[in-house]
């Protein structure tokens, strides 16, 4: 009997993918070895900005060396940026060339200057020691304010400025007018700290060229193998799609950092043809710190205008966004379309203006990291709302309620381009207040005070836009690709199903969630469903996984393909049972003739489709295998309330998270267990940003936080049990009603944490603390406040 109900939508089905990971049989890129393979060491620049010359003659003769390539050996296309942003004066962004191997100038510590290919990694590393590099250092630009002053130097000589673009969104006149007339203005200067994504699996790539067929295969740690095939094939190496296969097997976390097309992918693919042997490269962690794209790194001034009752009138935002030394794949879109469009948040602020200057510096390229633009927007909104409340003597909860977009205002058009389809911000706030036991806070604070400790509570009632994205919309905003998704649903002759999806799972549990969609719709158990992803030769097409898009876009493509399967199956069933297709109903996996006891199972129908002896050949092709593309109609808009409670030891400055509550509205939930897991992970990265993590450069451009000894990765004992809940309003423009859950934790939580820290310190007169709120920073703030008082 079909048993869709127990593994369908809304059930916490245990993950199908777990077993192979639990027994050590995952298949990650570094686990793959190709016959006759060579090993690669990338020699990287130790200088942040220099003209250089390089001599590889000694190294070329070293033991085991197969070949050494330098920049001038690799005359290929520039690594492309996927999104063109125009400045407000209409000029296109400045887009400097980005060669895979630096030719005569390096622009950040970590840039590749030579590729050493050898019989073993040890041989390659030993040979690298014999390479002579002569650096002629050039003044280094690290600070974004310095970068604005051309006299301090240019990261790229060929463009006349370090400003990539100077862009704006919103009505600047309306905002200035509101600010000049407002009863109250709150101002805040904010740094959104630079982060290093640190997926636990480091990047790895194997290029494998088959001379006899001219076929290239790239195995790579990617969130979107088809996108890599397009960017690398079309723009860098000039390889047509049919000769290039990209496989992203099991991938050990991405968080955005594995979206982008990296130089190493092009290098190993290209080199495998040059040396006619497979070329393997795996990053070590130290290398990852200086070669994976970093995240965040904004410096922002923000002003909020309010009327005398605390109603928001206008928001003015000025941001400098760090691009690093080169434009990474999505870099230009993150501080613009994924950021400024979010500035209404959950509020009815009628006038908003945002100006963004994106800046080249001699640092690792900066690009999307879990949330990408939305955490930066959310942070400044939720911080300034908090500050305004404190200044005006309104409670943190009240000021938010006063300004929420009301439930009956949806669809709601914001002044910064987006139209929200649904949400209920009071509902998530109410549920979070209850879950966090807000009423008991005063008693808990009294207890802390009794013990000589400080205690604070902080809120964030955030919103984000994900499910990216409608191709026509992003196209009009400069995206150089469409952001649809593709799926193929193949019903096999005996009724089991394989789904080929362009989404890519690197921890999100697609193999289970997507199987549940099939289970729900076709009425078969998830045990009968296999989800295939990550190989451009198997999957018809795909745009991959980022921006919490897998379910809202990839899942919808699967639903569309299933609709086609069902429509065809009904016709087959009608023919075999001699009925009209209009009379066939699908109930729990059975195709029934309405009002009779005659029915066929999916397996009966698929057998008829593949053994078409009794089949409507004049009307239908044999087989039961359908493909669909889905392009979303709008972004999706998850939102919710995060509440953080901290206790601070005034003697040490240590901040202890005592409570972290998240009530999110991510739309319809397919697998509650997986959704909660996604939110836990996001919260940990958000708390990590707020309290621990920071990518720090010295003034010479050396990364100070370049290992786990120096970069504070969150550990198990940094956290308490998270309290997670959900309230649902359905997305109105996709059939599943889903919104997306991958990033909400990281987007909503940082301001809740910092607001809690500021709340705890506010009685001492502290108004602001920058991320990460380390013990040292908090201790200093406490002591400075004490000295002032």
């Amino acid at each position: 009997m079909p048993d869709g109900g127990s593994t369908g939508i809304g059930v916490s089905v245990k993950r199908k993918e777990d077993y192979r990971f639990l027994v050590g049989e995952g298949n990650y890129t570094d686990d793959i070895n190709r016959p006759n393979q060579t090993h690669t060491y990338m020699l990287r620049s130790s200088s942040a900005h220099a003209k250089f010359s390089i001599d590889t003659s000694k190294a070329s003769k070293a033991k085991g060396v197969v070949k050494i390539f330098v920049g001038t050996d690799m005359e290929v296309g520039s690594i492309p940026c996927g999104w063109q942003v125009d400045s407000k004066d209409g000029t296109p962004m400045r887009e400097p060339a980005h060669p895979p191997i630096a030719k005569d100038k390096v622009r950040y510590v970590g840039e590749i200057i030579a590729v050493i290919i050898a019989e073993s990694l040890e041989d390659a590393k030993n040979a690298a020691e014999l390479i002579d590099v002569n650096y002629n250092d050039i003044p280094v630009i690290i600070d974004m304010q310095d970068a604005l002053d051309n006299s301090k130097g240019l990261v790229h000589d060929e463009i006349e400025s370090n400003v990539c673009y100077d862009w704006e969104l919103g009505d600047s006149e309306a905002v200035d007018k509101a600010i000049s007339e407002a009863a109250h203005i709150t101002s805040l200067d904010i740094r959104n700290n630079r982060l290093i994504p640190n997926a636990m699996e480091t990047r790895s790539a194997i290029g494998d060229y088959e001379h006899a067929t001219g076929q290239y295969t790239l195995y790579t740690t990617s969130q979107n193998p088809h996108v890599i095939r397009l960017l690398m094939g079309a723009f860098v190496l000039g390889l047509p799609e049919h000769k290039l296969r990209v496989i992203a097997p099991d991938v050990g976390g991405g968080f955005g950092s594995k979206i982008f097309h990296y130089a190493e992918e092009a290098i190993v693919t290209w080199a495998s043809n040059k040396i006619r042997r497979p070329v393997k490269w795996t990053s070590d962690r130290s290398e990852a710190f200086i070669s994976d794209a970093h995240g965040r790194d904004h410096v922002t001034s923000v002003k909020l205008a309010l009327d005398k009752d605390g109603k928001f009138l206008a928001l003015k935002v000025d941001t400098l966004a760090n691009m690093g030394a080169y434009l990474s794949t999505f870099a230009s879109s993150v501080p613009t379309y994924l950021y400024a469009t979010l500035l209404a948040g959950t509020y009815t602020t009628p006038a908003i203006h945002c100006n963004v200057k994106s800046i080249f510096t001699n640092t690792v390229p900066v690009d999307a990291y879990r949330g990408a633009g939305r955490p930066e927007a959310t942070y400044l909104i939720e911080r300034i709302v908090d500050k305004a409340a404190r200044e005006m003597g309104i409670s943190q909860v009240e000021i938010r309620r006063k300004n929420f977009i009301p439930v009956d205002a949806f669809p709601y058009q914001t002044p910064v381009a987006l139209q929200y389809d649904s949400g209920n911000y009071n509902a998530t706030l109410d549920a979070a207040l209850k879950k966090a036991d807000y009423e008991g806070f005063a008693a808990r604070k009294a207890d802390s005070v009794k013990r000589g400790m400080l205690r604070g509570i902080g809120f964030s009632t955030y919103l984000e836009a994900c499910g990216i994205a409608p191709s026509a919309v992003v196209g009009s905003l400069g995206a150089r690709a469409g952001l649809f998704e593709c799926a193929e649903v193949r019903v096999h002759p005996t009724g089991s199903v394989t789904v080929f999806t362009g989404s890519h799972s690197h921890g999100q549990g697609h193999e289970t969630t997507f199987a549940q969609l099939v289970s729900e719709k076709l009425g078969i158990s998830t045990d009968m469903v296999e989800i295939s992803h990550g190989d451009t030769n198997n999957i018809p097409f795909g745009m991959g996984t980022y921006g919490s898009r897998s379910l809202a876009v990839g899942g919808e493509a699967i639903v569309k393909a299933m609709d086609k399967v069902i429509a065809k199956a009904k016709k087959i069933a009608a023919h075999v049972m001699e009925a009209s297709a209009d009379d066939i109903e699908l109930n729990n996996g059975n195709f029934e003739i309405a009002g009779t006891d005659k029915s066929m199972s999916l397996a009966d129908i698929s057998l008829a489709a593949y053994v078409p002896h009794n089949y409507p050949h004049e009307e239908l092709e044999p087989g039961l295998d359908e493909k669909a593309f889905y392009d979303p109609l709008n972004f999706t808009y998850p939102g919710g309330c995060h509440i953080c409670e901290v206790e601070i030891n005034p003697n040490t400055g240590e901040v202890k998270v005592e409570g972290m509550t998240a009530v999110d509205d991510v739309g319809k939930v397919i697998n509650p267990m997986i959704v909660e897991g996604q939110i836990h992970g996001g919260l940990a990265q958000g708390i990590g940003q707020a309290l621990l993590e920071n990518a720090a450069y010295d003034s010479n451009g050396q990364l100070l936080s370049g290992s786990y000894m120096d970069y504070a990765m969150p550990r198990a004992d940094n956290f308490v049990d998270f309290k997670v809940g959900n309230e649902v309003t359905l997305c109105t423009h996709n059939s599943l009603g889903v919104k997306g859950c991958g990033e909400v934790g990281a987007i909503g939580s940082p301001p809740a944490v910092i607001n809690a820290v500021v709340d705890a310190l506010s009685e001492l007169g502290v108004e602001d603390i920058s991320m990460p709120a380390t013990s040292e920073k908090v201790w200093n703030a406490i002591n400075q406040a004490k000295n002032k008082n």
Partner: protein, 159 residues
Amino acid sequence: MGGQEMEISLKINGKDVKADVKPNTLLSTFIREDLNLTGTHIGCDTSQCGACAIHLNGDAVKSCAILAAQADGAEITTIEGIANDDELHPMQQAFHENHGLQCGYCTPGMVMSSIKLVENNPNISEEEIRKGLEGNICRCTGYHNIVKSVKQAATVMGG
């Protein structure tokens, strides 16, 4: 470079292994490259992340922190040797039931470390689990469900 190879013999997942290793080969490299047991993962180069944790003579050890040569004569279990045929170890089962893994990369090390944590402290508290897993980094789960998994496994393993 690396000096003369030396012969080591050890027992790994119940099987006797003899091999020639260079004096500078890390045990983690030996396990992955020479024995092709790729369930043991490498997540860092400073012995911080714990993805390479194995059992060596009954202790949970980061296999990147010792040389293969030092494991001469040792009895080693890797993640591949924990389940009893198709029957998962209670710790593996608990990770499955509590969604204690997402991308799966830190999982082998987490499971190996957690087994020893519980074996050495059958009535382990939540605080002790969090402290005990300080040497294992996970970027996906926020540790929430890992802690739950270890707690559940502790009750099954006879705490």
